[in-house]
Amino acid sequence: MSDTAQLIHDAAHRLFAQHVTTGLLHQCESGVWPEDLWDAVEEAGFLDTLADQDSLPAERAANTAVLLRVAARHLAPIPLGETIVARALLVARKVKVPRGPLTFGVLEGHTHTHGDHAHLEGRALRVPFARHAGNVVLSAPSSGEGVLIAVRRGKLSEGANIAGEPRDDLAFGDTAGTTIVGVSGDDLMAIGAALRAMQIAGALERVLLQTVEYARTRVQFGKALAAFQAIQQQLAVLAGHTAAAGIVAEAAMADIEAPERLSRSAAIAKVRVGDAATAATNIAHQVHGAIGITKEHSLHFATRRLWSWRAEFGADAFWAARLGRESARVGSESYWSSVTHTG
């Protein structure tokens, strides 16, 4: 890890440990916006890790990956990745960056563009934290190339994923927007998949640490759960999934500014972390027993997010079908070289 990444890592742990309590997670689920947490994150400069034009793309990507991983360990209930990406897209295209939380989603509908100016109509479903975001970056179906930023967010219907994170539907009728060229709707989908993959990787680390700690302290039949081979073997499997998820998520995040590579690495990541999330939630709940399925215990803050995140921005099956078709097109003889290909 570079010095800067290490600094971000340490500062983020301190910040999130201070702000993200289970009490806050409960409050946010009932509709509270964590104003203090957001202000602290903004003040720490965390929103511009990817927009920072003074550092190299590889550094930007690595810093962002570290930050998202730590934030996900703490389950920070804010649109951190969404805002970071949206700000970076705007800064890179020299579009004025609005204050506050930003988000992005997929527009179903149509757009009329005149140069930089656009008008859009249609809807965007399950947009993360849309109720808190002043502006929304949308993939634009009709233009093919380019995405849009809607300066107004349209009519909003509140919704939530099963972890209680806001996932709102937006309706647009002749809404004004700005066109951002150089990034397509497909690119935006892959970026979303990479973000969720890294969040899943971070949450899996939390689940592993929490479940190991529980197994070491919970006594049954006169000894700690950790002493039972059946438990040890389950946790070893959980560790393997955590390791695999971490490395593919990191690989996808490294490509976050390189759409031509990201379409593949994000697909690989989202498939593998999806598998890992499925296995890990099963194991963690099994080891925790009945207390782990109570509202009082904190395990569910991670497991419910994992169940949502594995399905968001394309479930593992969606990306697996893409990867599988691509492998089939490559064919048997070139399959291996497509795996080792680094370009």
């Binding site: 070893a236 955590t242 490395i247 490294a254 697996a320 990867l323 680094t342």
Partner: protein
């Protein structure tokens, strides 16, 4: 819960240097000429295919003993270049069994613990692809419980007198040497401390090798009986009583490489062929999942190779790769069955089904050899602080 604590294992994204990618092209070109002619089911034997002629050719190309010092016939390349050569040989289905153990663990062990005389005697032949090694660890009553070995080496004026039986020694009937773990000390405190490693010349009198057919009828592993065999004094490797520590180091070489997830690669390629250019949704999803798992394993394994190159001892990471890798390798024959449901058979006209027949039958060994799944998960659990 302290969420800032590091995980007990570390995997970092690593990339291969240009010289390693250059070597990859060379190995690919070499294999295209040497291996393409072999039947797919032969190539599916992967690192169980014993072919001295191929091993000698590989040695002549400078592709064995890749990281060893030149004075012992090595080529002083990096662990990352070795990673590339290894994965290309396996993915290409090259018959590498003859020199595999010697190159992977016996040579490195001798470099670390052997005497100068042992190194000069043995290593150049390994690097030429002419000298082969068997592993003498397990015994009839010691499978996973390696510290319980009973084969005894007794020091006498003439040398070491050895009596007992080693089991599951692959290619002991063809190898010139074995590195064996014998008991040299007795007593309650000697379970691990009473063990010593020896360099055994398999041509010595008093050593009998009895091949054991596996469930396919092939005999690659053996029972090796030592009947008061006399080993010279200089057969000792490292220090008397240090066998346990040395064998643990040897196992780290054995557990971390790409052979721990590429054993079913020939069948995966056959699955891609069977899928055709326009697969059904169900087949595409299955292929995509396997592809994602393969990428993840390769990145994990490359991270281990990078740590080895840096001089670290990533034993926990190696155990994780082997455990996750074995599940992947073993799933492939079952997924082939699930997707296509054709009867695998050695007589099938379709090459894919012949490969599937081969791998379906050998897949159970993937989570036995080199440390069983249960042993590895125990090691991982210890790393997690559970035991």
């Amino acid at each position: 819960m302290n969420l800032a604590q590091p995980l007990p294992f570390r995997f970092q994204l690593a990339s291969l240097p240009p010289e390693a990618e250059k070597l990859r092209s060379e190995v690919r070109a070499f294999l295209a000429g040497e291996v393409q002619a072999f039947a797919p089911e032969l190539r599916a034997q992967s690192w169980s295919g014993f072919n001295p002629e191929f091993s000698r050719k590989l040695g002549a190309r400078g592709l064995i003993g890749l990281t060893w010092p030149k004075q012992y016939g090595g080529h002083e390349r990096t662990a990352l270049e070795r990673f590339v050569v290894t994965e290309e040989l396996l993915a290409g289905g090259a018959p590498v069994a003859a020199h595999w153990v010697a190159d992977r663990q016996s040579g490195p062990l001798l470099l670390k613990f052997g005497t100068e005389e042992q190194r000069r005697r043995v290593l150049p032949g390994i690097a030429r692809g002419e000298t082969y090694f068997a592993i003498g660890m397990s015994e009839p009553d010691s499978g996973s419980d390696l510290a319980s070995v009973r084969t005894r080496a007794r020091k006498t004026g003439d040398g070491w007198r050895v009596s007992g039986t080693k089991l599951w020694s692959s290619w002991a009937h063809k190898a010139q040497y074995m590195i064996a773990l014998f008991r040299t000390g007795e007593g309650a405190d000697q379970r691990q401390l009473g063990l010593t490693q020896f360099l055994v010349d398999m041509s010595l009198p008093g050593i009998k090798v009895r091949p054991i057919a596996d469930l396919t009828g092939h005999a690659h592993f053996n029972e090796v009986i030592f009947d008061d065999a006399l080993l010279p004094h200089d057969a000792l490797i490292g220090a008397e009583g240090q066998g346990w520590a040395q064998v643990t180091a040897e196992l780290a070489y054995e557990r971390s490489g790409p052979e721990r997830f590429l054993s079913s690669m020939m069948l995966l390629k056959q699955l891609v062929a069977a899928a055709g250019p326009d697969p059904s949704e169900r087949v595409a999803i299955a292929l995509g999942r396997l592809t994602a798992r393969l990428h993840a394993l390769r990145k994990l394994s490359l991270s281990v190779a990078t740590q080895l190159q840096a001089g670290a001892n990533p034993a926990l990471e190696a155990a994780l790769v082997k455990d996750v890798g074995a599940v992947f390798e073993q799933d492939i024959p079952d997924i082939a069955h699930d997707l296509f449901g054709q009867e695998p058979s050695a007589q099938a006209l379709d090459a894919g089904l012949r490969v599937q027949a081969q791998l379906t039958q050998v897949a159970p060994s993937f989570s036995l050899r080199g440390g069983t799944r249960e042993i590895l998960r125990g090691i991982i659990a210890r790393g997690l602080g559970l035991r």
